[in-house]
């Protein structure tokens, strides 16, 4: 097997209206077991996946949003949010989940791996990745 690859999971769809967000998350959880460098990018309606206060009791669907908060435990190191997409939807980082991260070996901790980035930075990050998964 080759060295660690930089995996980037592209999330561009809102939750519940379609299953893409939920099944994409399932792939991320599995990817953790393969010891690759996993990052997520939330672009366009994908930013709605991270909004707090989701309540699905009235629609009979599973609320999978709490899972995002645990991604730090699944070896996910970065969750990038596209600034333009966020602002276009009248949202700010305060509307989004907080995802803590801890390295069990070095005990290094990060309070929140959710990071708002501008287009130039995001383009850079996408280009630096080895594999981009789209769902």
């Amino acid at each position: 097997m080759s060295d660690k690859k930089q995996f980037m999971f592209l999330n561009r769809r809102a939750p519940y209206g379609t299953i893409y967000a939920w099944e994409s998350l399932e792939v991320v959880l599995i990817a953790a077991a393969f010891e690759q460098a996993v990052s997520l990018a939330f672009i366009d309606d994908g930013v709605y996946q991270l909004v707090t206060g989701q309540d699905t009791t009235g629609i009979g669907m599973k609320n999978f949003s709490p899972t995002y908060k645990t991604l730090g435990d699944y070896e996910v190191r970065h969750m990038y949010v596209d600034k333009d997409s966020l602002e276009a939807r009248g949202l700010s980082v305060d509307d989004l989940v907080v995802v803590p991260w801890e390295d069990w070996e070095t005990e290094e901790t990060v309070d929140n791996i959710v990071e708002v980035v501008d287009s130039a930075k995001l383009a850079e990050l996408l280009e630096e990745s080895d594999v981009v998964f789209s769902f």
Partner: protein, 130 residues
């Protein structure tokens, strides 16, 4: 060059399955290796042998099967997505108490790890979706 192909949509509703098939066929004809075609989301519906399109339409499922026979292509249907959408092989039928199977020949049902493994092993991942 070693390719992995991911198909996110079912046949007929979207062009994604046709595009993925045409791409995979062209890649194989050019002598590239297609390590695996991984069917996810509604893409798992590419793997039912019960598909019966009208005679004057293409049979996408059979197209995959024929390509797999010719090139020994690995066609993998995601188990979690397949269970949701009723794509069943003998193992799944037994495990979940179902009275029938519908998996097409040459397709196999397996876990999401097969997609991750393909992405690690291959030079390129090409995604077809909506």
């Amino acid at each position: 060059m070693k390719f992995a192909i991911q198909v996110n949509e079912g046949p007929y509703q979207h062009q994604a399955s046709d595009s993925a098939y045409q791409f995979t066929k062209a890649a194989l004809e050019k002598g590239h290796e297609c390590f695996r075609v991984f069917f996810y989301h509604d893409g798992v519906l590419n793997g039912t042998r019960l598909t019966t399109p009208p005679q004057d339409d293409r049979n996408i499922v059979n197209n995959w099967v024929e390509l797999a026979e010719k090139y020994d292509l690995d066609l993998v249907v995601c188990v979690a997505a397949a269970q949701r959408r009723g794509i069943v092989d003998e193992g799944e039928a037994e495990r979940n108490g179902k009275d029938a199977t519908n998996i097409a020949p040459r397709f196999r049902i397996s876990g999401l790890g097969q997609l991750i493994e393909a992405a690690i092993q291959c030079d390129k991942l090409v995604v077809f979706g909506d």
